[in-house]
């Protein structure tokens, strides 16, 4: 069960108009509702939902969110949540994963809603010491190698590893991408309500993104729009061109002769290359736009 659900969702939505649209989309996504409703419908627990603007861990580092026993708190004043509304969804889903694991034993009668490979550190059977995730400057150990290979970097501290594993991070990113797709603006710019998050960047840095390399046949393409224009650097080559993304992320909008549209998001340093026959590129994620 939840305490404070309506006020909590309203406070998340009140962060910005774009956050409102994305939160609405998330709470209409059946894949997210499966996670949310597990917590909401379990009579054995009571999760107090709240937002706060001063959450710091015991080292004094400002946090995105926090899940103490019986609580789920999102820091709505965190700068990253305002710079990029997708980060608000990222934090919420991250904390929901923690809350699910916190509730699992008490709610064992309900069907477990997370995929089998999604863990947080305190519940990961691959971790030797589940109460003590290593920090980056700790000596080498099996747990440190596990954190490096299965978790990657924390967004809240350069000294820490994140505490939801890569499959959990892919789940988070998939839900964010679905919300971005559902709320994308119309032609010709298809303005998005948020951008890829630090979790996307962590997956990219650790080569854990699904389906990263793509190719499009030039003969089928009617036009390509590069948004925003200032985020792309073009270099001519003997057979075509290279477009390099110079911002944290930017959109490549491809319109086809058959009227369909594909939107791909590339990250900083990613290239799209036209060699005279096809356009090949590495992307963070993308979709067919209706």
């Amino acid at each position: 069960m939840f305490t404070g659900e309506d006020d909590f969702i309203k406070a998340l939505k009140d962060t910005s108009p774009d956050a409102r649209a994305l939160i609405d989309a998330l709470f209409n996504d059946p894949d997210f509702l499966k996670l949310w409703n597990y917590l909401k419908s379990c009579p054995a627990i009571n999760v107090a939902l709240s937002v706060d603007n001063t959450i710091k861990d015991s080292h004094g580092d400002e946090l995105f969110g926090l899940t103490p026993p019986g609580k789920l708190i999102v820091n709505t004043h965190k700068r990253e949540h305002h710079d990029n509304p997708s980060e608000l969804l990222d934090t919420l889903i991250h904390e929901v994963i923690h809350a699910l694991w916190d509730a699992k034993q008490a709610c064992a009668d309900l069907p477990w809603p997370l995929p089998d490979d999604v863990y947080d550190w305190p519940d990961d059977p691959g971790a030797v010491n589940r109460l003590d995730e290593p920090e980056k400057d700790d000596p080498d150990s099996p747990d440190k190698r596990h954190a490096q290979t299965q978790y990657g970097d924390s967004p809240s501290s350069t000294k820490r590893y994140i505490d939801v594993n890569f499959p959990g991070q892919r789940l988070i990113c998939g839900l964010i991408e679905a919300a971005l797709k559902a709320t994308a603006g119309g032609a010709p710019r298809y303005r998005l309500k948020g951008r890829p998050t630090l979790t996307h960047e962590n997956l990219r840095r650790h080569r854990k993104l699904a389906a990263r390399h793509w190719s499009k046949n030039w003969k089928d393409i009617r036009s390509i729009t590069w948004e925003p224009d200032g985020c792309w650097h073009r270099t001519s080559t003997p057979r075509g061109w290279i477009m390099e993304c110079t911002c944290d992320s930017a959109q490549m909008i491809v319109k086809y002769d058959d009227g369909t549209v594909q939107i791909d998001l590339l990250g900083k340093g990613d290239n799209a290359t036209f060699d005279g026959g096809s356009v090949t590129f590495d992307r963070l994620f993308g979709w067919d736009q209706a």
Partner: protein
């Protein structure tokens, strides 16, 4: 800490010094994991002693801060976090209307 026993006063001085050293290492650019882990265990032991012998429900915020030092973290104004010996564990002190209502080591998951 007027009226505190010599042992409590000594543990209070110790925990405040250890936490200051711990935070200095945490925020230093150079790797310090081994030394910090040792400090974390010493902080845990000192906090456990004070938890058992000096902290009681009803204590004021000023009295708790006098005993443990300023809290490095927390949630809002009424929940304070102090470091401990494990990354997922923190020592929590919670207040209501300015008086201590909850204290102890808890497991926290965060982002």
């Amino acid at each position: 800490m007027p009226g505190a026993s010599p042992q409590i006063a000594e543990h209070s001085r110790t925990v405040r010094r250890l936490i200051a050293d711990y935070l200095q290492l945490w925020h230093a650019p150079a790797p310090s994991g081994g030394r910090r882990a040792t400090l974390g265990r010493e902080i845990h032991d000192a906090l456990a002693y004070l938890d058992q012998h000096a902290l009681a429900a009803g204590a004021s915020k000023a009295a708790v801060e006098d005993l443990l030092g300023p809290a490095p973290g927390g949630i809002g104004a009424d929940v304070w976090f102090y470091p401990s010996d494990m990354s997922s564990q923190t020592y929590e002190v919670a207040f209501e209307h300015g008086h201590l209502i909850r204290k102890g080591f808890i497991t926290v998951r965060f982002n």
